[in-house]
Symmetry: C2
Amino acid sequence: MRSVAEEAGVSLATVSNVLNSPDVVAKETQQRVQAAMDRLGYVPNNAARRLRGLPSSLVGAVTLDMTNPFFTEVCRGIEDRLLQDDCMLMMCSTDMQPGREQHYLRELEKHGVRGVLITPVDLSLRPLLAMARRGVPIVLVDHRTDQGKLCSVSMNNVMGGRLAADHLLRLGHRRIAVLSASVDVQQTIDRRSGVREACAAAGHDPDKVVLDVRVPAPDMTTAETVLDDVLADPVPPTAILCLTDLAAMAVVGGLRERGVDVPGDISVVGYDDLVFAAQMTPSLTTVWQPKRELGHTAAGLLLDETRPGHRHRRLVYRPRLVVRSSTASPKLS
Amino acid sequence: MRSVAEEAGVSLATVSNVLNSPDVVAKETQQRVQAAMDRLGYVPNNAARRLRGLPSSLVGAVTLDMTNPFFTEVCRGIEDRLLQDDCMLMMCSTDMQPGREQHYLRELEKHGVRGVLITPVDLSLRPLLAMARRGVPIVLVDHRTDQGKLCSVSMNNVMGGRLAADHLLRLGHRRIAVLSASVDVQQTIDRRSGVREACAAAGHDPDKVVLDVRVPAPDMTTAETVLDDVLADPVPPTAILCLTDLAAMAVVGGLRERGVDVPGDISVVGYDDLVFAAQMTPSLTTVWQPKRELGHTAAGLLLDETRPGHRHRRLVYRPRLVVRSSTASPKLS
DNA sequence: CCAACCCTTTTGAACGTTTCATACCACGAA
DNA sequence: TTCGTGGTATGAAACGTTCAAAAGGGTTGG
């Protein structure tokens, strides 16, 4: 900046003014400075302006794993919203390790980020609340909290489970296997209770309708291995509800191998509406979530935190059932 | 930092030393300062240290779209490598818009990033080379260049095409439809020329063997729409090679609907080995790429750029054929 | 008893900005 | 002539660090 000032024959302050309040400097000077800038290939130093107290344009997004299509999509929404305010995204995957989360949070704070969007793995939220107290805006993503101190944006997973179950019940299914991963997270707990709600609301006994099945691998790609047990159940289900699309895909494949027709013999429902859900055969009935929008508004909420009149808000998005061809009424028996 | 110094009854420099060269300060003082730090909840200010000339711990990753599973995986590799050196990832999706690319590059430079990993959309590389000249390390990802000035890490797409074609030729296929997107990028051009190479090497006329087919949508999810044309060809193919797995999935579905058995009547090969390739039925024969490793070494190369003896390198990774059950020998006719 | 040395700590300048108060200048009004 | 006045430009301090040089205070050896 000094060189630019010299080159243009003005003072440092004038160069700064050209950049930040162009209206206060004469047209002619402005051009002279501008010219000097490109001649010298000047690039402003964000670190220095931050040091002077300007707000940072960095925002941290801490997710469980950016490789997970759900988070990828959410982050893309975040990125696009941030771009509108000339902010940039720092991506952090915790792999569900509290240590990694801790490390990233610390590092983000050192960088003086404008705020942090996070799907927490440490559910105590201790370090987060501490950061918030130190003045770093925090927005919880895909996680609800009773802490009124934080903004949060999440999905209504209970509703998602209800939608899926409702659809199956309406088709006439009275015995539904629900496949979840072996480790429980709030999201799947909610979805399952949504399923039971739907049963009860329809006047059926949840315990009779629902066959709760656990799949060993956390990503549920091994869903197919539980099929034999499911089919051999004393009261075999006429529908299988998988709490992720990937599992649904494996299930459809496994059923086909066993000579079971989908949806003729058994209906299958997924969750997430990943890109391939529409492509597979039969195309998958599944629960869609407004992932990108979720990220978009989460980022908006975060950017709003620095505004004077800000009030913390807790937004909950509603999933939608996408009916395709993997579900049908059960055969009359 | 000042408060910490006062609280601990030492000078600023001592606090700094505790942080940066603990070996030079007495054990006892160290503890005193440490204590003062947590008591006050002190968080170092990265902007200030950067200002003093320390290298930044920020690294930019500019990809076409972080939603694309290929890039997601690559970026995850980058993230993990960066973490080893306590660096952080700034993610930028250009959506193939030169304007967005330009914007992000500028912004990254303002932030004084340690370097930039990029899959360029502006193939002239003009702004990139300018940045490199200004001292910002640049590593090209999934893009080869003759510019000796830059490091690059890429996939051998010619080899990928060759592997896939070779596999089919060996199985006895003599007529292969190759589906690519309507817009050409270097990657698919290379893959196609690999296919032709394989034909030639096996002593067949590429023009006779290859049926070049274009799919309207850029993401090739509409691949199924070209099937009727393909099947109606004067010399109908016994195998279909799709240059992305998503297309392969659509094709398998389309064939099934038309009563064509895979791989009994027609073999299908994909490209990318996305997560669902192993899950679908039949599981998909496809070309796998070391995505995560690609990102990992790209990041390593970047971090190495600041080391004194650094020489620019151009690494090329080899894809691997993953044979599953969507391919078989053609029926005797 | 003094110089030389080691170990630990401090001083003070710099890094590249922004910002506020101040200075300059020309012009029209009193 | 003098005095504001409005539009522009500048000076200097401050932001939170790091780092080289120097200082302080023991201990040791001559």
